[in-house]
Symmetry: C2
Subunit: 337 residues, 2 copies
């Protein structure tokens, strides 16, 4: 079913049909009505390839993820984020082209391929690092429109949507300190991610401000590393009494380590997870977490990406700040008051 089938059946030219279907003036009301009725009867919809070619818009956004598949699945963030994106995209008839690649080199290659083949109208940059080559690539004049999902400090001239992780981290530390904890460890993710560094800094600064000495443990965001870091910290001579994990899965793994070692949570040891999720509500004890509406975040990001491709003024847009949801994994430090 093509536009010319409709033209034939309606007894008008192809151009007239196009005008009628797109609500442009140039056709009489009754012709327009007839065309619309016929199109509807035939179940016609514009061939996306033809429309893309003519309009040079694909009605598709792209997103590349460079992460190890096995660990990608464990974090609830991405699926929720995707779902949030989709609600917004679907409303405007846009699709999302997703690609999961094993390395950052291939991620760059995919972006360049998408640009050269004009496959997408814009892309989302996730997990941005310091001096991210993708930002550099996409900041060039003729590059693909792009939106950074991450901190303004690494977005360069690109627009971004960010969350104030520093404030959240400060809140978490204040909360733990308020419970009397003095030995607090942060179990942080991959050091080269910008948001990791921002949380690192916020943690360190806030600890210093309170006169406490910060412990930052480095992991790769995986459960295995979260467990290892927890185990090592607990084995040290001055074991922390509180841990702030950089995602939900590491917090769960940390909780398991605590139990295995017979440390009672929260009596002897407090835990906070970042990325609140269903998981945090269904462990025992339930995990105190920094909660962020990731689905809404995804929608927000989608709206801003539309803004970017529509030529809106670039900017740095702040999403809601993750807030601490106290649950059962945090309590006053052992021996305090």
């Amino acid at each position: 079913m093509t536009i010319s089938d409709i033209a034939e059946r309606a007894g008008v030219s192809i151009g007239a049909v196009s005008f009628a279907l797109n609500g442009r003036k140039g056709v009489s009301d009754k012709t327009r009505e007839r065309v619309l009725r016929i199109a509807d009867e035939m179940g016609w919809a514009p061939a996306s390839a033809a429309r893309s070619l003519a309009e040079s818009r694909t009605e598709t956004f792209g997103m590349v993820l460079a992460r190890d598949p096995r660990n990608l699945g464990a974090e609830s963030f991405y699926m929720q984020f995707l779902a949030g994106l989709e609600t917004e995209l679907a409303q405007r008839g846009y699709g999302l082209l997703l690609q999961v690649v094993p390395s950052r080199e291939e991620e760059l290659a995919t972006l360049q391929k998408w640009r050269r083949t004009r496959r997408v109208d814009g892309v989302l940059l996730m997990d941005v690092t310091l001096d991210d080559p993708r930002v550099e690539l996409l900041a060039q004049p003729n590059a693909l429109p792009a939106l950074v999902v991450g901190d303004p400090s690494v977005a360069g001239t690109l627009s971004c949507v960010w969350t104030d992780d520093a404030s959240s981290m400060e809140e978490a530390v204040r909360y733990l300190a308020g419970l009397g904890h003095t030995a607090i460890a942060r179990v942080g993710g991959l050091a080269h991610f910008a948001h990791t560094r921002i949380r690192d800094d916020a943690f360190t600064k806030q600890m210093s401000r309170l006169g406490l000495s910060p412990t930052v443990l480095r992991t790769d965001y995986t459960a295995a590393e979260g467990a290892r870091a927890t185990r090592e910290a607990l084995a040290s001579s001055v074991a922390p009494t509180a841990f702030v994990y950089d995602n939900d899965i590491m917090a769960v793994a940390g909780l398991a380590v605590a139990m295995e070692l017979g440390r009672r949570v929260p009596d002897e040891m407090s835990l906070i997870a970042w990325d609140d999720s269903v998981l945090c509500e269904h462990t025992f004890p339930r995990l105190t977490a920094l909660s962020h509406d990731v689905v809404a975040f995804g929608s927000h990001v989608a709206r801003r990406l539309f803004g970017v491709v529509d030529g809106a003024e670039p900017g740095h847009f702040k999403d809601s700040t993750p807030v601490l949801i106290p649950r059962a994994s945090t309590a006053p430090a052992p021996g305090s008051a």
Copy 2:
């Protein structure tokens, strides 16, 4: 950069360039070489819209997911599956168009839209139900090529890739019975999914075969429901001593309930999770699970979908069978030998 820019620079016609680039005979070796070199220098790649229009192939597959976003994130299955798909798609330059919708009606609408707009070359059907309207829709003569990810019994005339869940379930039941458990509960997912029913049947049959009376608890795959089912079962007069959960997140939730109620796992109560994942290895105790290489499953599915669009003989293809990985959440039944 278009093909005609190359033609101009190479001093040949557009057609010749096309032939050269596509490795077809009709151009001399040195012309071909020159064209290829120029194309490479200019960083040319075919515009996907133009190629789609001419070849009526989009080099894109589609997948629609109708699930609640918040719970989608919790299950590790999808992201791993996606990653598996991608490895195969990427090799052939294909992309994946993903859509997450809130209802099954919208899922159908999306499929029809994709067909009418010729947006994808083929689609994947996930979470197939009995009398699934999607199967009916896609079994029609002019429908989009489709592959069912699920049991042959609900695939109709469509090709499918399936896992022998019945065997896995039997193995799990046999294993628990071998440990002396007699009161075994299955915490099953949504009843209308075909794979749920298959597992239900296999569970019931195997229990009967062993002379045990089966308990099937119905949930919607969410952690909350998994917890509720576990709590209710444990409160009954003949509380089960073993549970087989239909996914990993419900098993985790069930474990939390057990701990909250002070039931020692595995001494007083054994747990098995379906969908082994990183999560299962990082709870305490670590969860015995029916393990399936979901990434490989995704790749397998992608290969078969290529088969379908290439017009291969339809068929029902069996993927590897999930095997039981005994960990620390299962032990002999209390009071047995």
